[in-house]
Symmetry: C2
Subunit: 154 residues, 2 copies
């Protein structure tokens, strides 16, 4: 698995990717295991090696709203751990037995401080990712508004 | 007006703010003037000195969906100009006669490259801003889903 297939590490050199592998830890998680919950302090980011992890949010206390499923090797999640207020914005649950690479927030922050090029690339990649998600979410909202307008004008 | 009241430039030193002022240009725009439209290449970011600018998107060809109004000195907008694919994600229209500072994308990118600390701060601020907007937009979407559930279960 190339780390550069993860949106976070797009554009990094082989050497920079090796440094990231050096600070990562591999771990296996059973199907059904929660990796983190929405609004918890974000202590690590994850990269999928094998398996599938669902990202979701809750509507009220009971209804789950699925946002996306990471299922391709290199898919990564948990990047709000790197950005103030350093809280996960979604919950993550394994929907299959999964093998993941985890990188601790403080280790990655040190690298971002030390290697300016890596720092700029990672932060720009995160901003690009959030902007993309924001555009998608606005599109969904527009679809709801359209439906609403139609039902009013019928 | 302190530039640090603009979310983009939060955490910068006086000297860094002075450098930014040095590459900015002040301009006045009449009420009703479009500063940019959604999906256009983002050539500059803007900081409000006086007046009010509405940010909006379109639903279909005709309906406008207002997103926010910049009306406090230091409010800034146009930051997608700094992030791939470098396209404005909303449209911006003056709703009052307005005085703005504009900073060209390539000038700001040069500063981000030269001053590593400034680069990290600006990119992290942008990511934080997009993440905040993403959370707000997801909340709005949840409200629509809730309304939908209620109407189904009534």
């Amino acid at each position: 698995m190339q780390l550069s297939s993860c949106y976070l590490f797009k554009g990094l050199s082989e050497l920079q990717q090796e440094r990231l592998i050096g600070i990562s830890r591999e771990a296996m998680f059973k199907k059904g295991r929660w990796l983190y919950r929405e609004n918890e302090p974000g202590e690590r980011i994850f990269i999928l090696k094998k398996g599938a992890v669902e990202l979701l949010t809750k509507i009220g206390e009971t209804v789950e709203l699925p946002i996306t499923i990471a299922r391709s090797p290199g898919d990564c999640f948990g990047s709000p751990a790197l950005i103030p207020p350093y809280l996960y914005s979604l919950s993550a649950r394994c929907v299959e037995d999964s093998t993941l690479l985890a990188i601790g927030r403080s280790d990655l922050q040190k690298l971002i401080q030390q290697d300016h090029e890596l720092g700029r690339a990672v932060l720009s990649n995160i901003a690009e990712h959030f902007l993309g998600r924001l555009k998608e979410t606005r599109q969904e909202l527009k679809i709801h508004f359209k439906t609403l307008f139609k039902s009013i004008h019928q």
